[in-house]
Structure formats: structure tokens, C-alpha cells
């Protein structure tokens, strides 16, 4: 059953990308990408490995700079921001990394406290503790509070990584391959978590993946990156109702191979 779309505000795009180009040497990764993410929407970006999906969200968060084009996030042109303004914008963007990127010298509690302590200096010790427990509870891992990241499974690390981004209550979530390397049951749990985050925290999200089950379960809209451009977009079934050999190959590999 496809997701309902009534929660999306199509009058308010929170991310607006136009004519975006990015190359690494002779490798032209993004060749004129246009994209809008609307308030409350879960947008899935599909594509093969190495097609520039992760590069796209790294440009959105200012980790990489674009060669050409405009990237407007929450009304601000990312390329025009100075360091201070970019830092402030980043607090409104949560970034869940492919390998979770947990600070491995810190416990789970310290991982979650880190962004809070550094960005909300007025919070008391008790308030920080309450926030940490609340957000850990929302990802179902309160019991992992004092564990080290090395003691957690891949799925648990993903959840803690998501919790660490949620603790700053971002308006936008960027998920980089949230289900990569996980077993099917854990994948389903992560997909459910992404949908819960959308509902509870009212986030707008871009989900980068090549996992079609993930795309189907979490995506309100799906765009497919082919040869450096978004050539197809729509609901899951619309995307794959195509004779394009590149699209068919992608579908067949996921569901037949």
C-alpha cells in the first residue's frame, strides 16, 4: 500500500536545487540536476553506486561545494553563506551517514550529548540528560546509553546515528544509504524508523538509497539519478513503469537477482 501524501505542503519547498553541476577531475558526476523537496515530504533518490547521490546531499549540507548551479535550503543559498551562517543552517539539517559516523572514542551518551553541549550551551545537566534519554527512547535504544559504538550491531549504530541528528530537532533529514549492509528485518526496522521520524519530528527528508524496498516503504516521491541527471520522478510504481533499459535493469537486479 502506498503512503498517503496529505501531510506534504507543496506550497513550501524547503530545498530548491537548480542546474547543479559537480565534477571530480574528468568525472562529471552531476550534470545539471534540478530538484525540489517539499515541507513534510520523504524524497527518495535512487541510483547506482557512484552516480553522485551522496555528493548531492553533501552539497546540500555544505560539506562539498557545487561547481555550478543553485542550492537553496530553507530560503538560504548554501554557496553564498559565510562559515558562521553555514554552521547555523547546518543545525537545521540532520545528516545520517552511511556508516553512522559515531565518534568511536565516546559512549553512546557522549555521542548524543556532543552536539547538544556544543550548540545549546544554556542547557543544564539535567535537561541534557532528559533530551538524550528521550531521543534514545524514540529510536528504541535506551538500554545502550552507556555502551561504546564498537559494542553495537550495524542496525543499532544506524539508529544511534539517527538519534544523534534528531537531538538538535532538525527541520530537514538527509539519510545516506540508511539500509546499506543490513539484514532484511533490520532494514524494515530502519524504514519504519524513518517514517516515524517523519511523523513525530515533522521532518522533510532526502533518502539516498539503491534499495528498492526502502524506496517503496519510505518514499512519498522517488527520483532516479541516471547519467548525472534526474530523468524520472514520481511514485514508486510510476518510476518503474518504463521501457528504459537502465530503469528496468535496476528494478530487475533488486527484485530478481
Amino acid at each position: 500500500m502506498e503512503k498517503q501524501l496529505s501531510h506534504i505542503n507543496y506550497q513550501n519547498p524547503v530545498i530548491n536545487i537548480s542546474a547543479l553541476r559537480k565534477s571530480f577531475g574528468d568525472l562529471h558526476v552531476l550534470r545539471g540536476v534540478d530538484l525540489q523537496l517539499f515541507e513534510g515530504e520523504n524524497l527518495v533518490v535512487l541510483g547506482r553506486s557512484g552516480t553522485g547521490k551522496s555528493v548531492l546531499i553533501k552539497i546540500v549540507s555544505g560539506l562539498l561545494s557545487a561547481d555550478e548551479g543553485n542550492v537553496n535550503v530553507l530560503g538560504q543559498e548554501v554557496g553564498d553563506l559565510d562559515e558562521k551562517a553555514l554552521m547555523a543552517l547546518r543545525l537545521k539539517i540532520g545528516f545520517s551517514f552511511q556508516n553512522s559516523a559515531l565518534y568511536d572514542s565516546m559512549t553512546v551518551r557522549e555521542n548524543l550529548e556532543f552536539p547538544l553541549v556544543r550548540n545549546k550551551r544554556s542547557l543544564t545537566r539535567g535537561e541534557i540528560d532528559k533530551e538524550v534519554r528521550e531521543v534514545l527512547d524514540s529510536v528504541g535504544l535506551l538500554q545502550a546509553l552507556n555502551q561504546m559504538p564498537s559494542e553495537l550491531s550495524g542496525g543499532q549504530r544506524k539508529r544511534i546515528g539517527i538519534a544523534r541528528t534528531l537531538i538538535l530537532r532538525p527541520d530537514i533529514m538527509l539519510y545516506d544509504e540508511p539500509t546499506a549492509g543490513l539484514d532484511p528485518i533490520t532494514c524494515t526496522e530502519i524504514n519504519n524508523l524513518i517514517n516515524e521520524v517523519q511523523q513525530i519530528y515533522k521532518t522533510s527528508s532526502i533518502i539516498i538509497t539503491h534499495d528498492l524496498t526502502c524506496a517503496k516503504e519510505v518514499g512519498d516521491r522517488i527520483v532516479m539519478l541516471l547519467d548525472g541527471k534526474f530523468e524520472r520522478q514520481g511514485r514508486f510504481n510510476d518510476i518503474f513503469d518504463s521501457d528504459d533499459a537502465r530503469v528496468k535493469a535496476f528494478y530487475d537486479y533488486n527484485f530478481i537477482a
Binding site: K58, L63, M87, L91, F95, Q98, Y103, F114, N119, R164
Partner: protein, 254 residues
């Protein structure tokens, strides 16, 4: 082919220059990471103490043992404390401390930051509103710059203690007369140049370790290379700095 290699070296030199300039810029601009600096001072200083103590102590004993026969030939073993004091204070204490720290602290910094880089922990820090350069690099470079001179003083003391025990065993010189002779020989310039030199060594160890780690790539292989390059490059630079300081101090002495 050769011009391409020269180009690459020049680009790398430019990157190092940019990295050092960024360090000084971030150093003076708030917010200041006092807690992390103290934490890193503890990591660099206190955790190096056992190794530094052992190395400094043995250096004192070995150097005394090796110097004795030469002085015995001239019947000048009474000069041992003076000779050892000059050698330890002027050169051995800062140099031994720096070389040990380059191996222990430099490789640790290179590997830690390299690992954080390839596992995207530095990116994660950046997107969560923290300046990773200030938090990771500035704090570590400051910590090594502050702690290596302190550790050098400590190494000097431990080395002299090792030397005293050896001298006491062979020549039965008392503690007070040994250190009287030490302080008669050592001048303010000796101590001053040793501390300043150790500061430069510390800065070198920190900045080289951070540069290698912060710019590492190619997965776990890159982490190993960063740690290795941090040690090799810092040791090489430490010897060059040592030579430069000797030349400068000699010109001051006239």
C-alpha cells in the same frame, strides 16, 4: 613526468602552508576549546610520562657510562656532571623527548584523525555545528606545543637523576655537589633555548600529525600511511630544527 611531480610537491607545500595559516587563524578566533585543550594536554603529557621517565633515566645512565672512559684518559672524571649537564640540558632532553613524542603522540594523532576522516566522523562533527578544525587540530597542536617543553624539563631532571646515580656509584659524589656542579655549568641561555626548541618540536609534532591525519584518504590503508608519515616527517623536521637552533645559539654566544 618530472614537472608533474614538482607540481604535486608544490601543491602539497601550498596545502601545508594553508593548513598552518588556518591553525593560527582558528587559534585566535573564539570560541576557545579550553576543555578539549586540557584533555589533550593530559593525553600528550600525563600518558607519555612512563615512557619518557624510562627513556630519560636510561639516557642519563648510558650517556654517563659512555662519557666516563674518555674523561678517565685525561684524569678528568670530576668534570662528568658538567659535561652531562650541558649535553642533557642543551640537546638530549629536548631531542629525546621530541623523538619519543613523535613516535608515540605524533603517530597517535595521525592515526586517530585519519581514522575519523575515513569513517566520516569529521564530517559528522561539521554537520552537527562544530568546527572540527578548531576542536581536533587546534587543541592537539596547542597541547603538544605546551606539553613537549614541560616533558623536556622533566626528561632533563630524570636524565640528570640517572646520571647522578651512576656518578654516585662510581665516583661517590654527593647529591648536593653533583647538582652544584650542574647548575654552575648550565646557563640561562641553555635552559631558555632548550625550552623554546622543545616548543618548536612540540608544534611540529602536533601540526604534522594533524595535517597527515586530517588529509588522509583511501580507507584503512590511508590511516596507516597517515600515522607513518606523521612520525617520519616530524622526526626529519625535528633534526633540521635542532641543527638550526644550534647554529642560531652558537651565533648568539659568539
Amino acid at each position: 613526468m618530472i614537472s608533474k611531480k614538482i607540481d604535486q610537491k608544490l601543491i602539497q607545500l601550498g596545502n601545508v602552508h594553508h593548513f598552518i595559516m588556518r591553525f593560527f587563524k582558528e587559534l585566535v578566533m573564539p570560541p576557545y576549546e579550553f576543555k578539549e585543550i586540557i584533555n589533550q594536554c593530559y593525553e600528550v603529557g600525563v600518558k607519555s610520562l612512563p615512557l619518557i621517565s624510562l627513556t630519560g633515566f636510561i639516557t642519563g645512565i648510558v650517556f654517563t657510562n659512555q662519557s666516563r672512559p674518555s674523561l678517565e684518559d685525561f684524569g678528568a672524571t670530576a668534570m662528568l656532571p658538567s659535561l652531562i649537564a650541558i649535553a642533557i640540558v642543551r640537546a638530549l632532553a629536548p631531542l629525546v623527548t621530541a623523538l619519543i613524542a613523535a613516535g608515540k603522540v605524533g603517530s597517535n594523532i595521525g592515526a586517530e584523525l585519519g581514522s575519523m576522516k575515513v569513517t566520516e566522523q569529521i564530517d559528522a562533527m561539521e554537520v552537527s555545528g562544530t568546527n572540527p578544525f578548531k576542536f581536533l587540530v587546534v587543541s592537539r597542536v596547542l597541547a603538544t606545543t605546551i606539553m613537549i617543553p614541560i616533558l623536556s624539563c622533566y626528561t632533563g631532571f630524570v636524565g640528570l637523576m640517572g646520571s647522578f646515580l651512576n656518578v654516585y656509584q662510581h665516583e661517590s659524589v654527593s647529591f648536593i655537589s653533583f647538582f652544584d656542579q650542574v647548575f654552575e655549568t648550565v646557563t640561562f641561555l641553555d635552559i631558555f633555548q632548550a625550552i623554546i626548541k622543545a616548543g618548536f618540536f612540540g608544534f611540529t609534532i602536533g601540526i604534522v600529525g594533524c595535517y597527515q591525519g586530517y588529509n588522509s584518504s583511501k580507507g584503512t590503508e590511508g590511516v596507516g600511511k597517515a600515522a607513518n608519515a606523521a612520525v617520519v616527517a616530524s622526526m626529519f623536521l625535528i633534526f633540521i630544527e635542532e641543527q638550526l637552533v644550534v647554529m642560531i645559539v652558537q651565533s648568539i654566544r659568539g
